[in-house]
């Protein structure tokens, strides 16, 4: 096959009207993972984007079919690794729903706090990486300073920094660390002081604004028809927050706003995420002093068996709506499991919104979609 490849020196006669095909990825610093985009260019204008997937396919859905209902939860940390707690919560909630397990109040509240901390950590990393894509290197370190505090809290309580596997069907794996509350309060205080630094560095920056405003505009109709969820859809004016629509854990007893922007461009998606972090802080503040005493895990049977039937649970991850669908035959392992990942739908809109723009704007558009490749390509 390689013998037939010839080196093309004259690039003027390629394709109709001098089209040029550029491979972005699988190893490209702006794709944050092994995403391969085949970009067809006319000069500097994008004519078509074709994402090629499969470089990090681990067949997680098939793997889960051979694991028991306790074991399959740890695999889901490896899908969207930046919101691994939320993925684990989705699976645990589904098993609890299928078996009618009572979850103690303490576990519910701690789960909610940890989910919101995960969301902040994910958005912090996104801000840093996004600014780095657009050429600003400094915000990355500022964002990681606050994120480090969250990973420290996770390390203390869950014993891991990224793939926690702390949530089990029925509650939590073990009780929270004695220092948990003081550390979270210290984090909230520091976050509130330092969040203005992002405003100074990134939001108000003229270069950042002119590179993101009006770039990659996604209309409300398209956001719905492409199945976008999470901050991407909310920046286009779609109400899709699962925490509001179908509250789980302790979300029904906390007050927070669903952030909606209507511009639909890259800057709106940035604003949604920044404001969402403040809302997450608000949720944590309401719960951190009111963690109820009691058991941290409910009574479960030794061997978990879901009843025969179909089960579905959806949660709001940092990227959008994650759906877990299980078909059970009444055995200890699922018969079929399917994940509806937010990243896949959000990636599908990339060709539509980046078509016709310049290739430099592709970084801003792709960055604000907040793609995590292992989530797209399970």
């Amino acid at each position: 096959m390689y013998n037939e490849t010839e080196i093309i020196k004259d690039t003027t006669n390629l394709g109709p009207e001098g089209e040029l095909v550029v491979n972005m990825g699988p190893q490209h610093p702006a794709t944050h993972g092994v995403l391969h985009l085949v970009v067809t260019l006319n000069g500097e204008t994008i004519k078509k984007i074709e994402p090629h997937l499969g470089y990090i396919h681990r067949s997680i859905e098939k793997m889960c079919e051979s694991l028991t209902y306790r074991q399959f939860i740890y695999v889901t940390s490896r899908m969207d690794y930046l919101s691994s707690h939320i993925n684990n919560t989705a699976c645990a909630l589904l098993v609890e729903k299928g078996m009618q397990i009572e979850v103690p109040e303490r576990a519910k509240v701690v789960r909610t706090i940890l989910n919101e901390l995960t969301r902040i950590a994910s958005h912090e990393l996104w801000i840093g990486a996004m600014a780095m894509d657009l050429g600003a290197f400094t915000p990355f370190f500022y964002a990681f300073r606050e994120r480090e505090m969250i990973t420290d809290i996770m390390e203390d309580t869950c014993g891991a920094r990224l793939t926690m596997n702390y949530i089990v069907p029925g509650g939590l794996m073990y009780d929270i660390h004695p220092d948990f509350q003081t550390k979270v309060k210290a984090f909230i205080q520091q976050f509130k002081e330092k969040v203005t630094e992002y405003e100074d560095l990134v939001t108000g920056n003229i270069i950042f604004q002119s590179r993101t405003k009006g770039v990659g505009v996604l209309t409300t109709e398209d956001a719905i028809s492409y199945g976008c969820t999470g901050p991407v859809a909310r920046a286009s004016g779609v109400r899709c927050d699962m925490r509001k629509i179908a509250p789980y854990d302790a979300y029904d007893r906390v007050e927070f706003e669903e952030i909606i922007e209507t511009a639909g461009d890259s800057f709106a998606r940035y604003i949604v995420r920044v404001k969402e972090m403040n809302q997450s802080i608000r949720i944590i503040e309401q719960l951190i002093d009111n963690i109820p005493e009691g058991e941290f895990v409910g009574k479960t049977k030794n061997v978990l068996k879901l009843a025969k039937g179909e089960f579905y649970q959806r949660v709001e991850t940092a990227r959008g709506e994650l759906g877990v669908y299980i078909v059970s035959e009444g055995a200890t392992t699922p018969y079929r499991i399917k994940f509806r990942s937010p990243g896949f739908s959000n990636l599908s809109v990339l060709n539509h919104i980046a078509k016709g723009s310049k290739i430099g704007d592709l970084m801003a558009t792709m960055g604000t979609l907040d793609l995590v490749i292992p989530d797209i390509d399970r």
Partner: protein, 158 residues
């Protein structure tokens, strides 16, 4: 009109850039507020969280005794087949046969540190320790036998 917009754009642009530069300059002059781990120079003082999941070990007491009964609950709980327990039968002085472990084989290279084996263990025979420097030159060195040679089960553990 155009000129007015142009000039205001330039002024706003420069002021927004200076605002960001002031923040950067602040941290440049206040280097003590920057927190960086000086690893590996701080190895002697480095302290990880107590619960950090680094490696599975089997604690032995001063008489070289452990509490593992060889019930294989951890082996069944493990999603990756990391643990393999080989059992044998000890014959007590009274002539009774008693099940005991011959080798507790733990494959660190296959372990995802999910903690399911620890929660499954009924006699707290294994635990996670915060070791994280696992690099070795040969992969076979990551396959470990956790029970020490000559060790036996503690009295009274069934």
């Amino acid at each position: 009109m155009f000129l007015k917009d142009y000039i205001s754009d330039v002024v706003n642009g420069v002021s927004s850039l200076l605002k960001g530069m002031r923040k950067t300059g602040y941290y440049f002059t206040h280097s003590k507020e920057i927190i960086t781990e000086q690893y590996p120079d701080n190895r002697a003082t480095l302290k990880l969280a107590d619960r950090f999941k680094g490696e599975v070990v089997m604690p032995h007491d001063e008489n070289n005794e452990h509490t593992c009964t060889g019930c294989t609950a951890c082996e069944l709980a493990c999603p990756n087949g990391t643990i393999k327990i080989i059992t044998k039968f000890d014959i007590s002085p009274e002539g009774k046969k008693k099940k005991a472990i011959d080798a507790f084989i733990y494959r660190l290279e296959m372990c995802t540190l999910c903690n399911l084996c620890i929660t499954a263990c009924p006699s707290d025979a294994i635990k996670m320790v915060p070791n994280f420097e696992h690099s070795v030159f040969d992969r076979s060195k990551l396959t470990k036998i956790l029970n020490k040679p000559g060790s036996k089960i503690k009295e009274g553990i069934e």
